[in-house]
């Protein structure tokens, strides 16, 4: 589905990503784990079109999408849940959802029903301003907003960041549920334990390179990963 080939990205004056290659199969959950500054977010932002790579290529459903602008990427079915949720605080919950479907022209009634079934809390609060929601609710709104574009691939940047453990568990349940409904997921997490338990395939990133690949279970039981990321 998504093929990243020898991608190099300069960001903030340094080579943040130093030639990585990986691929994502349709229908799976793939995770990229690694420490702060490993280049995970930069990779996601590059796929989303927010930053241009220095070299390498990104292919989605057989089409080269390297260096396309964000609107073109969204139109092709890739969407992103940004780090820190980035809810539009002055827009209502309903507007936040509608703006997720900005490029679509058809009726959104069914999509809204779908999102409100997934997140009943959002329905109760649909007239509130986005900024008045709690952190967990904002994360759900951010995921719901991304789903409104009817993506084929959804990329999530640290969805558990700053949330209470119980809410984190909810978020991961939702990630699995969305995946069961047919959306492929690329997940970035510092919470490596949860991420690897959820994912089919994991990649470990260190200082701009992918150093290890395996199934979620293989990485969970890998001694090196345990020592570096699982605190065991």
């Amino acid at each position: 589905m998504l093929k990243v080939n020898n991608l190099k990205i300069n960001y903030g004056g340094i080579e943040a990503v130093k030639g990585i290659s990986f691929s994502i199969e349709q229908g799976g959950i793939v995770t990229l784990i690694g420490a702060n500054g490993a280049g995970k977010s930069t990779t996601l932002r590059c796929i989303a079109g927010l930053i241009k790579p220095r070299s390498g290529s990104i292919e989605f459903l057989g089409e080269d999408i390297t260096g396309k602008d964000p609107a073109a990427i969204v139109a092709r079915g890739i969407t992103m849940v940004p780090e820190g949720r980035k809810i539009f605080s002055d827009l209502t919950v309903l507007e936040n959802l509608k703006i997720g479907a900005y490029l679509r022209t058809e009726s959104l009634d069914e999509d809204l029903k779908w999102i409100f079934d997934l997140f009943p809390r959002l329905k109760e609060r649909s007239w509130q301003l986005g900024g008045t929601l709690s952190g967990g609710e904002q994360q759900m709104l951010s995921v719901g907003r991304a789903l409104m574009s009817r993506p084929k691939l959804i990329m999530m940047d640290e969805p558990s960041l700053g949330l209470a453990p119980l809410i984190v568990r909810d978020i991961f349940e939702i990630i699995k549920e969305i995946n069961r409904q047919g959306v492929t997921i690329l997940l970035i997490e510092q919470n490596a334990n949860m991420a690897l338990k959820t994912a089919d395939i994991g990649y470990v990133m260190e200082t701009g390179r992918i150093t290890l690949t395996g199934t979620g279970y293989e990485l969970l039981t890998n001694e090196g990963v345990k020592a570096a990321y699982l605190g065991a």
Partner: protein, 294 residues
């Protein structure tokens, strides 16, 4: 005669000029809201619209020259954004402000060059330049039309921003460029549209303003532009209702001061008001809580 009867002409003039300031002030406040830029060239766009009318009406009938003035003013605003501001999107904010000051002087100098610095007679537009008597005081029709037209345009603009998909995108872009891009919004087209709306309102404002004052000079944009800017700051820069209210307050106060026989001080009053507001309530009447330093 009672207070009202004596002062009615001044209040009416104040409401009228207030409406004209409001139409200019919206351009300042919208651009600030989206780019955090004080568009110093905005008053000069207003002036340029005045000269366009002078030259176009000399050879074209009014039913052609008026729409053409509006179209060309909109085009001017659009081109200024694309050529002088868009390339600086990622530059420090100070660079784009300096670019705006440069554009302001460029337009003024072009106007000096074309007109040799002479004041030009603004054409009389039938109907709106005609005299009309309201409550026993005689005034120009434009005095009566301005507040009505201003109100209609502001209402349309507020509806656009609050209740359309594009308005939603404008509100989103004004808060967060990057997340807006992730939604598929093309921020450059939203910004261009903001300048188009601002320039359109400035063109309408210039038609009304110069119909009242009758002459255009290359610096004719400075004082109304500055006062509209004060109005936008007074109302809380970034807020459209704030800018409109601020413009009416300034227009009315200014004319009441003139009515009291203190014409010499009417401009000074505007700026004294600005200083007082900035001391008492730095964010203005409807200002956002967190303001960026510029």
């Amino acid at each position: 005669m009672g207070f009202l009867e004596t002062n009615l002409p001044y209040i009416m003039a104040g409401v009228s000029v207030g409406g004209q300031y409001a139409l200019i002030a919206i351009g300042y406040t919208m651009v600030y809201g989206i780019l955090r830029l004080i568009n110093f060239a905005h008053g000069d766009i207003f002036m340029a619209a005045g000269f366009m009318m002078v030259y176009l009406s000399a050879s074209l009938p009014l039913y052609l020259s008026i729409p053409l003035v509006i179209i060309l003013t909109v085009l001017l605003g659009f081109l200024i954004e694309r050529s002088a501001y868009a390339p600086l999107r990622k530059a420090p904010r100070m660079s784009i402000m300096i670019s705006a000051i440069g554009v302001s002087y460029l337009i003024q100098n072009c106007a000096w060059y074309i007109t040799s610095g002479l004041a030009k007679q603004y054409p009389a537009i039938p109907w709106i330049s005609e005299s009309v008597t309201v409550f026993s005081s005689t005034t120009k029709m434009v005095t009566v039309i301005t507040p009505v037209l201003t109100f209609m345009l502001v209402a349309a603009l507020v509806l656009l921003i609050k209740h359309t998909k594009f308005g939603m995108a404008m509100r989103a872009v004004s808060k967060d460029f990057e997340t807006s891009q992730l939604m598929g919004i093309k921020i450059n087209s939203v910004i261009s549209t903001t300048f188009i709306i601002g320039s359109f309102l400035a063109a309408v404002g210039s038609l009304l303003f110069f119909s009242n004052y009758m002459t255009v000079t290359p610096t004719a944009g400075s004082m109304p532009g500055l006062k509209a800017f004060v109005a936008a700051v007074f109302g809380g820069i970034g807020s459209i209702p704030g800018a409109v209210l601020g413009a009416f307050i300034i227009g009315i106060c200014e004319n009441i001061i003139k009515g009291l026989g203190l014409t010499t001080f009417s401009d000074a009053f505007t700026f004294a008001l600005l200083i007082i507001i900035l001391i008492a309530k730095p964010t203005g009447l409807f200002g956002e809580k967190s303001t960026d330093k510029v």
